[in-house]
Amino acid sequence: MQAFTTHQGLAAPMDRANVDTDMIIPKQFLKSIRRSGFGPNLFDELRYLDVGEPDSDNSGRPLNSEFVLNQPRYQGASVLLARKNFGCGSSREHAPWALEDYGFRTVIAPSFADIFYNNCFKNGLLPVVLTESQVEQLFAAVYATPGLQICVDLPAQTVTAGELSFSFEIDAFRKECLLKGLDEIGLTLQSSSAIKAYESARAAQHPWVFGAIKRA
């Protein structure tokens, strides 16, 4: 998993509450066998004027010019500014996959749905919770200043944008994992020697558990 320390990038505003995971990545894309490649279909129904299918050629599809991410000033955004209860609905891990694949590294909102919040950490995406009024100030700044960059400093736990500077809370364990780029697998692998020790003890005791499965 990609580590997250400090990230500074162009901010895009997703100015609506209760953005659900079906909106982030619609259900027809779950048939995919891949975990990457969802970026072109992030917010598919909002972003395009036609209905997308897993095998559509997205480059030729009609864009909805009204949609925020299609506006020239937000091209290349990597910080998503959002409203409350972001990521609600279905538990699909495809939602953070799509945000990450599009190029977002962090999402800032007053609150997130639980499962989505957890899924972000499994995928190197940092969800930042600020207060409603802080988020409101960031929205105002983004609208007022084309090209506004937001800087999220995980070690210092701060968000800065122009004159604004806020601090945020994060679970120490999760922070540690993100800083080191450790996903759950990476973490478990830190216990490799314990796993190996278990295996040798077990192999001595229950040898039939090992070596049996091979082609006849």
């Binding site: 066998i33 697998i185 478990t188 216990s191 314990a194």
Partner: protein, 476 residues
């Protein structure tokens, strides 16, 4: 100190590490993979440049969205009509080849529904931890395994580390004593249990099924019961080791022989709950009270004896229940107060990881023998759970009995259990089904599922409506 339950013992013997937050690293002995929940896990491994921790623990087979039609199957992967399904099956083959994982491919002997082929090949043995990216993994608990379903991230985690980060569950014991009546099967027992404790009754628990009824039951029957632990809200269901377990395991492909077998059996014999073990919850049923069961609604707990009537909305105790029953009856197109045996049947499905083993095939064939499917019934699918079940059934001539009765004998797979291939219900059609879920649209959009045993399903096919199979069979 109080004794240990079977679950406590299985947990204890697989504990690699306990963590401060109450979670633990649990060692996994067997990991079964199929085409639907594995592709992203393999891709994740690739992206991170990781390899499977062990190869001699994983086994794969396609089952969920392969065709059960003989001609399509003969054409191999290229014969799968749906493009997305074809790609998923091909991807499983490619991933297994790439990583060196043993796979029983679509038309090989050994292929089958993950929860049928695993125990049958001796992949799963008593005392093991078994996981699979499928919620019905509890099936393997019939062999005194700690077995449960996992998500895609966890599939990747197990591939990479051979462990799972998990928390210990509570212990529940469900005791069914007495003797089952004539015509009453393991499916009826588990449906009756779900009817009693509800679909959330087992949430947070590992269930041990105990008592005379399970002691008298074959391993196939125990698998049917453990399979549906998840429909009772529990991720884990299991039965302790006895002679039946040992006899079942002996001689299977991946099972040890000679001294190693002796050593294993000696250990397996200890896989029972201690007599002074404490359970956090106990449920008791009398086996002789159980009649053949039929679900009438859209949740497995909406179940009744075949001799009963469909509940009326106004008889429900709470407003919430009245709303749930009203909604279910509307979807199912049924009247409260009418007889269960008045439920018409348009299609019949005999198969799924709940009821597609050789005993299930025999039970259905015993009813079908010398009879004909009713004219009003559009289709009866009989889908063996694995290539080995198919081979055995054909050796016994069961396929001929089904075909003579007007039923279709198919190739092994999940089929109409979840309708990911072309085996589906049409809107409004009623189906007597031996599968495990009767949710809205599960077997096809607008389809109406009635969960029953294989004998009851065959009887419904013949009658054209739900019928008490006991009235069609002679008691010996």
């Amino acid at each position: 100190m109080a004794g240990m339950t079977l679950y406590d013992k299985l947990w204890q013997s697989h504990l690699v590490e306990s963590r401060d937050d109450g979670s633990a690293l649990l060692y996994i002995d067997r990991h079964i993979l199929h085409e639907v929940t594995s592709p992203q896990a393999f891709e994740g491994l690739r992206l991170a440049g990781r390899k499977p921790w062990r190869l001699d623990t994983n086994i794969a087979t396609p089952d969920h969205n392969i065709s059960t039609d003989r001609a399509e199957r003969k054409a191999g992967v290229a014969g799968i009509p749906d493009k997305t399904s074809r790609l998923q099956v091909q991807t499983l083959d490619d991933n297994c080849d790439h990583f060196g994982i043993v796979e029983y491919k679509m038309n090989e002997l050994g292929q089958g529904i993950v929860h049928v082929m695993g125990p049958e090949m001796g992949v799963t043995m008593p005392g093991m931890t078994v996981v699979c990216g499928d919620s019905h993994t509890a099936t393997h608990g019939a062999l005194a395994c700690l077995a449960h379903g996992i998500g895609t991230s966890e599939v990747e985690h197990v591939l990479a580390t051979q462990c799972l980060v998990t928390k210990k569950m509570k212990n529940m014991r469900i005791t069914v004593d007495g003797k089952l009546g004539f015509g009453v099967t393991p499916k009826d027992v588990v449906l009756a249990i779900i009817g009693k404790i509800g679909t959330a009754g087992g949430t947070g628990y590992a269930i041990e099924f105990a008592g005379q009824v399970f002691r008298d039951m074959s391993i196939e029957g125990r698998m049917t019961v453990c399979n549906m632990a998840i429909e009772a809200g529990a991720r884990v269901g299991m039965v302790a080791v006895d002679d039946t377990t040992i006899d079942y395991v002996q001689g299977r492909q991946f099972v040890p022989t000679g001294d190693l077998w002796q050593q294993a059996v000696e250990y397996w014999r200890t896989l029972v709950s201690d007599s002074d073990a404490q359970f956090d919850a106990e449920v008791v049923l009398d086996g002789s009270d159980i009649a053949p069961q039929v679900t009438w609604g859209n949740s497995p707990e909406m179940v009744a004896a075949v001799t009963d009537t469909i509940p009326r909305v106004e008889q429900q105790a709470s407003a919430e229940q009245r709303a749930a029953v009203a909604r279910a009856l509307e979807y199912m197109g049924l009247e409260g107060g009418s007889a269960i045996t008045d439920i018409p049947v348009d299609r019949v499905f005999i198969g799924s990881c709940t009821n597609s083993r050789i005993e299930d095939m025999r039970a259905a064939a015993a009813v079908a023998k010398g009879r004909r499917v009713a004219d009003s019934v559009k289709q009866v699918l009989v889908v063996p759970g694995s290539q080995m079940v198919k081979q055995q059934a054909e050796a016994e001539g069961l396929d001929k009995i089904f075909i003579a009765a007007g039923m279709q004998w198919r190739e092994p797979g999940c089929s109409m259990c979840l309708a990911m291939n072309s085996d589906k219900l049409g809107a409004g059609e009623h189906c007597a089904s031996t599968s495990n879920r009767n949710f809205e649209g599960r077997q096809g959009n607008g389809g109406r599922t009635h969960l029953v045993s294989p004998a009851m399903a065959a009887a419904a096919a013949v009658a054209g409506h739900i019928v008490d199979v006991r009235t069609m069979m002679e008691e010996h």
